[in-house]
């Protein structure tokens, strides 16, 4: 089971967190969602990462 948690702040900035099973399919979809949200363009998404527009990718 995978959980994708999307938080959108009142400033319109979003962050996405992935929990549970983080297979390549889930991460690809997360990356796609991040792009649609305008958070990233070509950044790498790895298991267990939190991506936030205000910060670089950081491993939890």
């Amino acid at each position: 089971m995978s959980k994708i948690i999307v938080t959108i702040g009142k400033n319109g900035k979003a962050s996405v967190k992935v929990e549970g099973l983080q297979d390549s399919s889930c991460l690809a979809k997360t990356k796609s969602l991040l792009k649609r949200l305008g958070i990233i363009r070509d950044q790498r998404v790895d298991p267990g990462v939190v991506v936030n527009v205000d910060e670089d990718i950081k491993v939890r």
């Binding site: 089971m1 995978s2 959980k3 994708i4 948690i5 999307v6 938080t7 959108i8 702040g9 009142k10 400033n11 319109g12 900035k13 979003a14 549970g20 399919s25 889930c26 979809k29 796609s32 969602l33 649609r36 949200l37 305008g38």
Partner: protein, 137 residues
Amino acid sequence: MSHYTEQVMEISDRDALMAALADMGFTKDKVKTYAEPHALEGYEGDARKQRAHIILPRKYVGGSSNDIGFERMPDGRYRAHISEYDTHRYGKAWQDQLMQRYGYHVTLTDVDLIRDGYRVVEENKVGDAIQIVLSDD
């Protein structure tokens, strides 16, 4: 004549933008859409040089207001055209709220996730933020 300011927004999904505008009070009957960009109107009904594909007509923007426009750029993103006069009401706070509603609709309509069985299992308000939890369980 009030000058227009331009703001490139991280918005590329037209349907999500329309849904976000509806959340902000600009329902479909209060929005004009064009396949080709159309000139914005100033408060006196004068055609301005700014053009847009999605226009919020001035009569719905407010008294003595000018049209607000969203112009689709070649890279797919939208550029907002808002007159200086209208930025007191449709400034950063309004634009931020629009982006929040846009992000909400982008997330809920992500076709890749929906096709693969992801669904919204939780939707919370966390302070001023919206939190959406999607799961494939």
